[in-house]
């Protein structure tokens, strides 16, 4: 238990870490209204990234009732996998997705088959403890290999490119791309869940594991595919995070909390709700930061608490099972 104490401490401390929000994306400031509009717009676009953090988390919980505490650290791991890929091959971070996504998906499949499937059962506690331990291991392994230095991926000119959308407002191409990818990921998962045989297998297994097995579904394999899919989304989120802001081995748990909050705000089991949850946290953080830079994270958490107090089931709940 003694080893858990510093880890919990780290969890609490890292939640106060500031994400690299880039204010003032407008090229000209024509008034107070435009600034506020801009703030909200940036918040919405940031929300796309949070929705991606949340989508993988939501997917895993939905299919196998596993709360993946290591989710945030897996996002950071994906960022480092991208870092190594970019430095080794000398390619653009966005191109590195071609490698990082399959690598993380394969890792997810193996992780589930070798480790996490053994923790699943009637009790929710073993997977919680094992993924907590995994979180500690990933953080320390990254610290060992990459040191605590902040790193960032450089995506080149696209990072500073922006589009004028009139009225003195401009949006960065990269945040826009990030939001478009988030919408595409959510739409893709929605399609996969409700229109494909794999999605049918996910939902059937989620409904009734023993009967799904009687219908010829190998739960161990279905769960591993779900984890592979989750880590494919994690890979995308990790690369976008690494291009957007500095990262170091300790920032995982805070990403986990943003993801959790987006899932809860949206309502468990609702993918589009997850996007809405991400956007709400993103906007709240942006508004908080605008009022006072120190309120950035606090505002996101307060928005989460307000939703939790007024609508504990989330905004778009979907009753499962």
């Amino acid at each position: 238990m003694a080893a858990l104490v510093p880890a919990i401490h780290a969890l609490l401390v890292t939640t106060t870490w500031m994400p690299g929000i880039k204010p003032g994306m407008t090229t000209e400031r024509t008034g107070c209204d435009v600034e506020w509009l801009n703030t909200i717009l940036q918040g919405v676009l940031l929300g796309g990234l949070y929705a991606m953090f949340a989508a993988g988390l939501s997917l895993i919980f939905g299919v196998m009732r596993l709360v993946n505490i290591a989710h945030g650290d897996l996002i950071v791991l994906a960022a480092y996998v991208a870092l190594v890929t970019v430095e080794t091959l000398g390619i653009n971070p966005l191109t590195s997705l071609v490698i990082v996504v399959p690598v993380m998906a394969a890792l997810g499949y193996i992780l589930q088959r070798v480790l996490l499937n053994r923790t699943l059962g009637d009790d929710l506690l073993p997977p919680l403890l094992v993924t907590f331990g995994l979180s500690v291991i990933i953080q320390n392994a990254l610290l060992q290999f990459f040191t605590a230095d902040s790193r960032k991926l450089n995506a080149g000119d696209i990072e500073i490119a922006s589009i004028q959308i009139g009225g003195g407002l401009a949006v960065g191409v990269l945040p826009l791309l990030q939001f478009a990818l988030a919408v595409a990921v959510i739409a893709g998962l929605q399609w996969l869940f409700y229109r494909t045989a794999l999605g049918r297998a996910f939902r059937a297994t989620s409904d009734d594991q023993p009967v799904a097995q009687l219908m010829g579904l190998n739960n161990a394999h279905v769960f591993a595919l779900a984890m592979a899919l989750s880590l494919a989304v994690v890979a995308l989120a990790g690369v976008l995070l690494a291009v957007r802001a500095n990262f170091d081995p300790s920032i995982g748990p805070a990403r986990l909390i943003f993801g959790f909050e987006a899932v809860i705000i949206g309502g468990l089991g609702s993918l589009w709700g997850t996007l809405a949850g991400g956007v709400i946290i993103g906007v709240a953080q942006a508004i908080g930061a605008k009022l006072d830079p120190g309120w950035n994270l606090l505002a996101g958490h307060i928005a989460f608490l307000i939703v939790l107090a007024l609508r504990p089931q989330g905004l778009f709940p979907k009753v499962q099972g």
């Binding site: 049918r200 059937a204 409904d207 009967v211 799904a212 097995q213 009687l214 219908m215």
Partner: protein
């Protein structure tokens, strides 16, 4: 012994320290309907669960198509050609009627049963294809459960208490489809509390009592007295 499609040989089964089955031996031939009857807790459902791979069993205690399948996981057993219609129907609540059927057929075993054939057998399901499975009546849900099992094109169909909780007219309606299923060369094991219904459709009957076979014989040769004695052990 005649060449059986399924042979259960001296099968024991346990729930923890409690022993539910004691040396059960039964045989099912190709194209035969076998009824397993018995009081509550006699071990009927446990027997089906063991055969379907949902409960552990000694390897050679269950022989299917000359291969030992005891203790194989359920998803492997269904791929060999044994499908279970579970007690209480157990449809997937978040899936539509058609999706439930498609999950049953996702192994892609070749055979006569397709979505269209299941809809021909139970036309009402075609009308309800897009509805959530939970919105159907009990009888219709049972049809989905049977159709779902058939979609895997089994050689042996196990039906656990398909009359449970259904009105007599609905039970007659469902049993009326059984000959069409057997006509495809499928063997069927029926677990029933409704003895009259079971005797009507079965070729062979086994009566279980407290985890043991108390009576076995041709369905036609059964008398009320024999069954009452085996059923209650008096």
């Amino acid at each position: 012994m005649p060449d059986h499609l399924l042979e259960v040989r001296a099968l024991d089964a346990h729930y923890g320290d409690f022993q539910a089955l004691f040396g059960i031996s039964i045989g099912v031939s190709q194209g035969e309907v076998v009824a397993v009857i018995g009081a509550n807790g006699a071990g009927k459902s446990t027997l089906l669960k063991c055969i379907a791979g949902a409960m552990p069993a000694r390897g050679d205690a269950i022989v299917f198509d000359r291969a030992p399948i005891g203790g194989l996981p359920a998803h492997v057993v269904v791929a060999r050609g044994i499908a279970l219609v579970p007690e209480g129907r157990r449809l997937f609540p978040s899936l539509s009627v058609e999706e439930n059927l498609l999950v049953g057929g996702q192994l892609g075993r070749p055979g006569p049963w397709t979505l269209k054939r299941v809809y021909d057998l139970f036309p009402i399901l075609a009308e309800r294809a897009r509805q959530p499975s939970t919105s159907l009546s009990g009888g219709q849900q049972q049809m989905v459960a049977i159709g779902r099992a058939l979609m895997s094109n089994p050689r042996l169909l196990l039906c656990d208490e398909i009359s449970l909780g259904l009105a007599p007219i609905v039970i007659r309606d469902i049993y009326a489809r059984l000959p069409a299923i057997v006509a495809e060369g499928i063997s069927v094991v029926i677990v029933e509390q409704d003895i009259v219904q079971a005797l009507k459709v079965a070729n062979h009957v086994y009566c279980l009592q407290e985890g043991r076979v108390a009576l076995s014989g041709e369905a036609r040769a059964m008398t009320r007295e024999k069954i009452a004695a085996a059923y209650f052990g008096v």
